[in-house]
Amino acid sequence: MIEEVLIPKLGVVTDIRIDTPDVKTFRVVAPDGKKVFEHIPGQCAMLSIPGVGEAMFSITSSPTNTEFMEFSIKKCGCLTDWLHHMEVGQQVTIRGPYGNGFPVDTVFKGKNLLFIAGGIGLAPLRSVINYVRHYRDSYGTIDIVYGSRSMDDLVDYKEIINEWCVEEGVNVHLTIDREQEGWDGHVGFVPNYVKELGFDTNKTVIICGPPIMIKFTLAGLSELGFDKTQVFTTMELKMKCGVGKCGRCNIGSKYVCKDGPVFRCDELDELPNEY
């Protein structure tokens, strides 16, 4: 019988990393130890624990990782709570990849890239960041602005400090919302920090974070002279099928699961404000 997209495959959790008090990163492989499927940066997968639920998560590892996939998941509901309680060796079901992903091999090619993320919003960007780091020569400068509520809430902190910060041509700008002991970096909200940093407009911007952060950052970027066609973001709405048929993740006539999750900001302006 031909393959049915709604029927998932098996995955095994081989590693669980505690990122922040409410974010864990799960490493998933197929039972035979290989990757379950290939993806492009920005795409998502449906993870599920039968009987608990199924939900869409962005794949946070880069496709250049040939061994496994990773998912950084924040605890916020029934399923994610369950995932946070599981142990290494637990099997999950997985299907995908879904969505369009970031245009890493077309639009982004040769461009200077500016990544702006807030909180768990780094998860979908991490895949792109590591992808462009891997093919470093194909891209221009890389700037990363990442902010969180506190030092403890910075996802992938170790990777940021040990790998991204030390890499030449990658500028990392971290910020946290409030002063904290042991933090000597920048303090303040992401939108303001972006304005303070005052980037040149010769960049393509990739932004993800809480809606309120996106809203104010976009305003800041346009003050700096950026055009909406330069800005890409990734969306999230409730999904059930992942393939544009169950009918709930639409923004106007576009389905986030199929036509998204990556949208250029001027495309979003064409759609009704219902997200």
């Binding site: 019988m1 039968p50 099997q91 169950c246 106007g252 006539s253 759609l271 219902e274």
Partner: protein, 338 residues
């Protein structure tokens, strides 16, 4: 064109039933018609529409997708797809037949929905021309001709016989198996002419659809009229569930005590939990949910399907909505006619 007299209909049905599951609309004791599996003694109802639309055959209200057995940290996955027995539906009206091509656009587009496809391939549709349309019919608005319906085979009910005409390859193949008596179109043509006169008198037969379509997205979405239109909406799923083109679904898990069954079932965008996530809901009030349903049919669907509307004018929502709010009232109000 071939014909089969009323007396011989039973033996025809018998013959079809040998190879296929045959479904015909039959009247139940509640006075309404339902598609039921034909067996000796069941007669074809003359009612225009069954309460539940014919989409049930390809997209049933619920179907098992997959089941799981959990054992410690391990999960076992079992495909729940079953072989579909070939079936024939007799007496599907023009509006419902058109709805299949609308559903096709959703379920047969990549990635193909194999549950739907399997049933679609195994199903043969014998449509039945309408002779006495109802005041709630407005299929003609969407370019559907109820006197000459689509389908694999189309049928007309004459004075003492049914006339049948093969339309598709599948339909012609079935017809040739049945070896019926050849005949001319005289009665059929007369009937079509007669029905067309009635169609001209339908109060909703020629609704204006010019103000709708993919290019009207923003102005319709931002219309102030949604507030009053949705005001008395109860948020039930009646319109959705009787609608032949509504295809939104939910996927749910059921814990059986000895494993988990994952099934898909109809869902309604009118329900408050349709888009509810752990961190919020983009369609918080009934206004947004109500708007979504009609925008989908009148704007979003045409935007993605070269202008075709997601409504076939069957009139079920006109008959069944508890508060008598429906797509006709919505269209007229948005256009400023009400």
């Amino acid at each position: 064109m071939v014909k089969i007299s009323f007396e011989k209909l039973n033996s025809l049905f018998e013959k079809i039933s040998e190879k296929y599951d045959l479904f015909v609309p039959t009247k139940k004791n509640d006075g309404q018609s339902y598609f039921e599996k034909w067996e000796q003694g069941k007669t074809v109802s003359d009612d225009l529409n069954t309460v539940r639309s014919a989409k049930d055959f390809f997209f049933p209200q619920h179907e098992d997708i997959v089941s799981f057995k959990l054992d410690g940290k391990n999960i076992e996955i079992t495909d729940e797809r079953r072989e579909v027995r070939p079936f024939v539906m007799f007496g599907v009206r023009a509006c419902d037949v058109r709805s299949f091509s609308i559903l096709d656009k959703v379920f047969l587009s990549e990635p193909v929905d194999t549950f739907y496809k399997a049933k679609r391939e195994k199903g043969i549709v014998i449509s039945l021309a309408c002779q006495k349309p109802s005041e709630t019919c407005f299929c003609t608005t969407f370019g559907i001709d109820p006197t000459e319906p689509e389908g694999d085979i189309r049928a007309w009910k004459g004075n003492d016989c049914y006339y049948l005409e093969g339309v598709t390859e599948k339909g012609n193949a079935l017809l040739s198996e049945l070896s019926l008596e050849e005949c001319d179109r005289t009665e059929v043509d007369a009937q079509i002419e007669n029905t067309k006169k009635i169609l001209d008198r339908l109060p909703l037969g020629k609704l204006d659809t010019d103000s709708f379509g993919g290019d009207k997205l923003k102005e319709l979405f931002d219309s102030e009229k949604w507030a009053s239109l949705s005001e008395s909406c109860l948020g039930c799923g009646t319109c959705t569930f009787v609608c032949p083109t509504c295809q939104c679904y939910d996927i749910k898990d059921f814990e059986t005590g000895h494993g988990v069954k994952r099934y898909r079932c109809w869902d309604s965008c009118m329900y408050s939990d349709f888009t509810k996530m752990a961190h919020g809901n983009p369609r918080l009030t009934q206004l947004e949910r109500f708007r979504q349903r009609f925008m989908h049919k009148l704007v979003y669907f045409p935007a993605n399907n070269s202008g075709e509307f997601g409504c076939v004018g069957c009139g079920r929502c006109l008959n069944k909505c508890p508060i008598s709010m429906n797509i006709v009232k919505v269209m007229k109000t948005l256009k400023g006619e009400n």
